[in-house]
Amino acid sequence: MLNFFKKNKDESPSPEPKASWAERLKQGLTRTRTQLGNQLGGLFGGGKIDEEVYEELESILLTADVGVGATQALLEQVRTTVKRQHLTDTTQLREALQQALIGLLEPLAQPLDTGTHKPYVIMLAGVNGAGKTTTIGKLAWRLQAEGKSVLIAAGDTFRAAAREQLAEWGERNQVQVISQTGGDPAAVIFDAVNAAKARGIDVVLADTAGRLPTQLNLMEEIRKVKRVIDKAYPGAPHEILLVLDANTGQNAIAQVKAFDDALGVTGLALTKLDGTARGGVIAAIAKERPIPIRFIGVGEQLDDLQPFDAKEFVEALFS
């Protein structure tokens, strides 16, 4: 019976989706760009490198939410490369900037390895509406496709129908969701970790309520959740995955710092990259708080979670 299901799963579509999301995006993006009167003139046509071209590059980075500081740093780096390598053509210039970005992000493209502990406990955190719960749904699907058994803990006991939302993701994945009505988040996750230990489950996915770093009491609460998980299973949680919304501007940097200071974030997931937002703030984050970027979210379906690929990401930033 189990084998039968497994076999079926192996035949189901692989977690790597159909067309690359960068491809899917292009159409829509080109349109908005044109509307923005922001066409990339000389940059793509090839031609002489002048200040205007640098300005164009600056615009691309700024409008992708890379931020003033990181943009200036990247452009400085590129100017140096241009001088040192005697680059003359704008195509080379663009290439140099892409390389600078890839150089910054590539080291952070570290996939999540859930094989190191059993159960491997992943706690998700982030601001309100970033996509934590949906990411759990997609992660459960991914992990099962890799042949792992999964248990979900409904640690958001605050938001209206958060439990029901997660329950539906559990159903879609045919995965059990541990929850309590109006319970204490730490207690729910504690129970789930213990249940997973007893049943030999591979991975526990713990949802938490959205919170803003300014809500100091809630930041304290989530620290407590982490401590309690460690009591259920010393060393856990093994991954603290901070979920960031690609639509977010410079505040994402403050989010990373605040959650990292409170919890020690071990991985990032960048959601909603299927829209027009580029998530360029991740470059600024890579400079200020380098934390492995595990996944990107590119839609609201089960298979819309992908490992972070620096090259693909940078290409999409320029598309």
Binding site: N38, T63, A161, E168, G249, R278
Partner: protein, 450 residues
């Protein structure tokens, strides 16, 4: 970042103040700082460009050039223009239609539509309106359940829709229901959607045509970055938006998206969301938003008041002392209290602080604070100059004398001395870690703070 920005703008004022007159060049400098500030606050680049061009023109105008303090005049222009762009003072909801007046909610995924629907319903219920909440989000798991739960909490009617229905059918049926049950207002929540999702954008266009709402509110997350312009443009082209709701302002995002969306849609920001709870909806204040985006609080009126009422030399002496980390004595403490009172007391001061700071210090009770200030002054006045410089001298007998002189208890004197010590520590922190750190440390330690 906040400290940087305020500092930078103050630097601009300073350099400009030193100049006898404004030149093309120093206006350029100031504009570069402003540009940077706006970008850091997430105002979209094209909007920043327009804004700078506009402000520059005005800064070169006669009123600024003839001003005695051109630097301040430039900042004044920036601030005024920003506030003007932000729009009229809290534009109210328009419900003037044949009942039910329909409010359609639209926006990106997770921006806060469902929560805001509930918050609006609560507000209208308080105004004795009979409200119907309707969810046509048949996509997001348990979205309808979420709205229903909130409606139940609030004791507000919720239309019985489910995820197997078509949004268009829900719209028709709900409208019919609201008419038959004499609801004054129907708030129609929709699924989050991407501006480039053509099918979903077509869907909401249809819903709009079916419902013919009097208000179509675009719900925007205050943390949104540069893409706010693209999203706003697309929604504005698809739907005749009537207003904007800016959510999650209780965070520490500077909220430049507010300006982007305003500029692109030309629609008023009607409300701001300031908490995840159902009572967390407030009217919009353009002035405050302008200050928040600039990260400077109402610095202008602070400067004004400071110049009018405060002995600048005295303030500067203290600031230097604090910066250098030199000992901060009771005389300084008293002076500081005095200056605070001259500037209108704690309440007035808090009003003008940068929004983020004020947020952090929102536990202050201004009245208690002001009373405490006066008592502190009284106590310090009863001390000899020597005691003020060397608080270590204050043993029991001296304390009794001081308490009697100020008409307070010895415990009050002790409390003051404790507060003073804390203040001394804070001043040290200030010279090391800056304002934000100090404000955090201040919570619970300053007179009037709970």
């Amino acid at each position: 970042m906040l400290e940087n920005l305020t500092g930078r703008l103050q630097q601009v004022v300073k350099t400009l103040r030193g100049q006898a007159r404004l030149t093309e060049e120093n206006i350029q400098d100031a504009m570069r700082e402003v540009r940077m500030a706006l970008l850091e606050a997430d105002v979209a680049l094209p909007v920043v460009k327009d804004f700078i061009a506009h402000v520059k023109e005005r800064a070169q105008g006669r009123e600024v050039l003839q001003s005695l303090t051109p630097g301040q005049a430039v900042i004044q222009v920036v601030h005024d223009e920003l506030a003007k762009l932000m729009g009229e003072h809290n534009a109210a909801l328009n419900l003037a239609s044949v009942p039910p007046a329909i409010i359609l909610m639209a926006g990106l995924q997770g921006s806060g539509k469902t929560t805001t629907s509930a918050k609006l319903a609560r507000l209208l219920k308080e105004q004795k309106k009979k409200v119907l909440l309707v969810s046509a989000d048949v996509y997001r798991p348990a979205a309808i359940e979420q709205l229903r739960t909130l409606a139940e909490q609030l004791g507000i009617d919720c239309f019985d829709s489910n995820a197997a229905q078509k949004p268009e059918d829900i719209a028709r049926n709900a409208l019919d229901y609201a008419r038959r049950h004499f609801h004054d207002v129907m708030i129609f929540d929709t699924a989050g959607r991407l501006a480039i999702d053509e099918a979903m954008m077509a869907e909401i266009k249809n819903l709009h045509a079916l419902l013919n709402p009097i208000e179509t509110l675009f719900v925007v997350d205050a943390m949104q970055g540069q893409d706010a312009v693209n999203t706003a443009r697309a929604f504005n082209e698809t739907l005749p938006l009537t207003g904007i709701v800016l959510t999650k302002l209780d965070g520490d995002a500077r909220g430049g998206a507010a300006l982007s969306v305003r500029q692109i849609t030309g629609r008023p920001i009607k409300f701001v969301g300031v908490s995840e709870k159902v009572d967390g909806l407030e009217p919009f204040h353009p002035e405050r938003m302008a200050s928040r985006i600039l990260g400077m609080g109402d610095v202008l009126s602070l400067i004004e008041q400071a110049q009018k009422n405060v002995d600048i030399d005295e303030a500067k002496k203290l600031a230097d002392k604090v910066k250098s980390g030199k000992s901060f004595d009771l005389e300084d403490f008293k002076n500081q209290m005095l200056q605070m009172r001259k500037m209108g007391g704690m309440g007035a001061l808090m009003d003008k602080m940068p929004a983020q700071l004020a947020n952090m210090a929102n536990n202050v009770n201004p009245e208690v604070g002001d009373k405490a200030l006066r008592r502190i002054e009284g106590i310090i006045n009863s001390m000899t100059p020597q005691e003020r410089r060397k608080p270590d001298l204050l043993k029991a007998s001296r304390k009794r004398r001081i308490a009697a002189g100020a008409g307070v208890q010895v415990q009050d004197v002790n409390r003051l001395l404790n507060q003073f010590e804390e203040m001394q520590k804070m001043m040290k922190m200030f010279s090391k870690g800056g304002m934000t750190k100090m404000m955090r440390a201040m919570q619970g330690r300053f007179p009037g703070m709970r």
